[in-house]
Symmetry: C2
Subunit: 319 residues, 2 copies
């Protein structure tokens, strides 16, 4: 469904801001709490928390993160899920969100309604409150939704990207690549997995894979180390194999370089009883694959069979 | 200065994301704290707070909130100040911000540098930390910056928009209208004033004037009341008078309807010793004008000399 309409009466500009906000309240329903904790004041109010707070911001923009083939409800859900994935990557739980919209005047009300219904459903599924936001008119052909999500840590610590050491293992959840075929909006953020992992002391670092493992692994790699990945252990998705049939790249290339996997990339301390760790995982998450794809080694000490990451490049924005 | 360049080497697309983020860290300097409290992880981390938290989000978009006549440093500062004004309106103090950028590939690095330097300066002036964000490629000709600001209440209460009663006085800070001539980015958010007002029990409601008093007063008006404003008491700015010389509207119209005043609209309980309140204000804020522009009365009991607000319309988005 296209986000635009050529019939003025069906567009956001025909409504004006006040009616639009009334519509949004209705569409959000129970996902939006009452004032002073909801929409309608200069600021949203969030109660104080005891734990460390997590804040992340990610948008969806028409032509970039979605197009007319993605149902509007899926766009609304994707906006929240992209941000939920960041909270998951630090082992947190989500709490509340604000959303800033820039909409072309010809944006269709029917599209916007679907977007908000999808956002509201996803928010309720994850117990997130939509507490405030802003709507501004954007240029012709532009639809962008910018969400900021607040969460808090689920335990005593927040798992960051720094912490990996020589000999640590590299794990990844699920399978990788070919997200464009539908995973990019159908994925399930790994919140339960992230919270479970954050409680385990053997986890030294973690992040979510949004730009492809080949690029994202850099953010977890200390300056003196290199990641030694073994090609046969990379969990290549069926979608990556399908996409590879049409492209000039190998399935492995798609698995390592395609963006929007939204899986967890997990670093496990060297010397950990890996069999036990993997058995515990399987008991807790029997349906979620966990793959050990390599380990960290001293720089320039890469084994001969390690994947040459220089031959692969993850998705880089603004390139 | 235009935000765009036709020379590829001078554009954000020539840098790529990684260099760009390195540049942003440099430009932000001390305004961006070190990890895990700054840029570089999946989420920003904010320490727990004892008080109620305030969250607000407002963007600046090229062609809407600024154009090539506004210096890039002023655009960066304006982005933060718009949000600071919302925190001020609830009597809070600002703490930390995240910023989500959508930039056309031809966005100029020189412009972006100025934008960040202005943002960083304003953040340091107000002790706000820029703790995280996102950059995404936007369509040709688009530059939008979406900021979410976190603050906390400065005392035991948060002043909301609801609380006005029959007989309460309506006050406004500063002077109104003609913001387009420069006030829209040169204004100073009323943070000290907002915090001072929030501590006074005679203040029943408050908001910042962003779309013109004629429209914004509605948000403070309970369903059974009407605002009775007296024309001669409206503080018309010199800029509103200047703009009126070129437009077909009166100076009063500009004062009531132009957007982006960023002044505080304050409701004071009926029966308050107004002379004393005004003297206290003058002692604390000798340089900031405070005007009593009217009071609330029962609906349909408007005095004959009250401004007929139906003849005036504040700025409505998406109209």
């Amino acid at each position: 469904m296209t986000p635009f309409t050529s019939i003025r009466a069906d567009s956001v500009i025909a409504q004006g801001e006040l009616k639009l906000i009334a519509g949004i309240r209705r569409w959000l329903g129970a996902a939006s709490p009452k004032s002073p904790f909801g929409i309608g004041d200069d600021c949203a109010v969030i109660p104080p928390t005891k734990n460390h707070q997590l804040v992340t911001t990610d948008p969806v923009i028409f032509g970039r993160h979605f197009d007319a083939t993605v149902p509007p409800r899926a766009v609304g859900a994707k906006l929240l899920k992209r941000n939920l994935s960041d909270i998951a990557a630090m082992g947190g739980k989500p709490v509340a969100a604000v959303i800033s919209l820039a909409l072309a005047p010809e944006t269709s009300l029917a599209w916007l309604r679907g977007f908000y219904l999808g956002l509201a459903k996803c928010a309720q599924d994850h117990r997130v409150k939509i507490v405030g936001g802003d709507i501004t008119e954007g240029p012709l052909g532009f639809v962008g939704a910018f969400l900021t999500l607040h969460g808090e840590s689920t335990g005593t610590r927040v798992v960051t990207r720094s912490g990996a050491r020589n000999g640590d293992s590299i794990y990844v959840t699920g399978s990788l690549g070919g997200s464009l075929l539908g995973h990019h909006y159908r994925f399930r953020p790994r919140l339960a997995e992230g919270a479970w992992l954050a409680r385990r002391q053997e986890i030294t670092a973690m992040m979510d894979v949004s730009d492809g493992v080949a690029k994202d692994i850099d953010a977890l790699t200390p300056a003196t180390l290199s990641p030694a990945l073994t090609a046969h252990s990379i969990p290549i998705s069926a979608a990556a194999r399908r996409v590879a049939q049409q492209s000039k790249q190998s399935p492995l290339h798609h698995a390592l370089c395609d963006g929007e996997d939204y899986e967890l990339l997990i670093i496990v301390r060297g010397g950990t009883d890996r069999n036990r760790f993997e058995r515990n995982w399987e008991k807790r998450f029997p349906k979620v694959k966990l793959s050990r794809i390599g380990h960290f080694t001293a720089k320039n000490r890469l084994p001969d069979d390690a994947v040459r990451l220089a031959d692969y490049r993850g998705y880089e924005h603004l390139r």
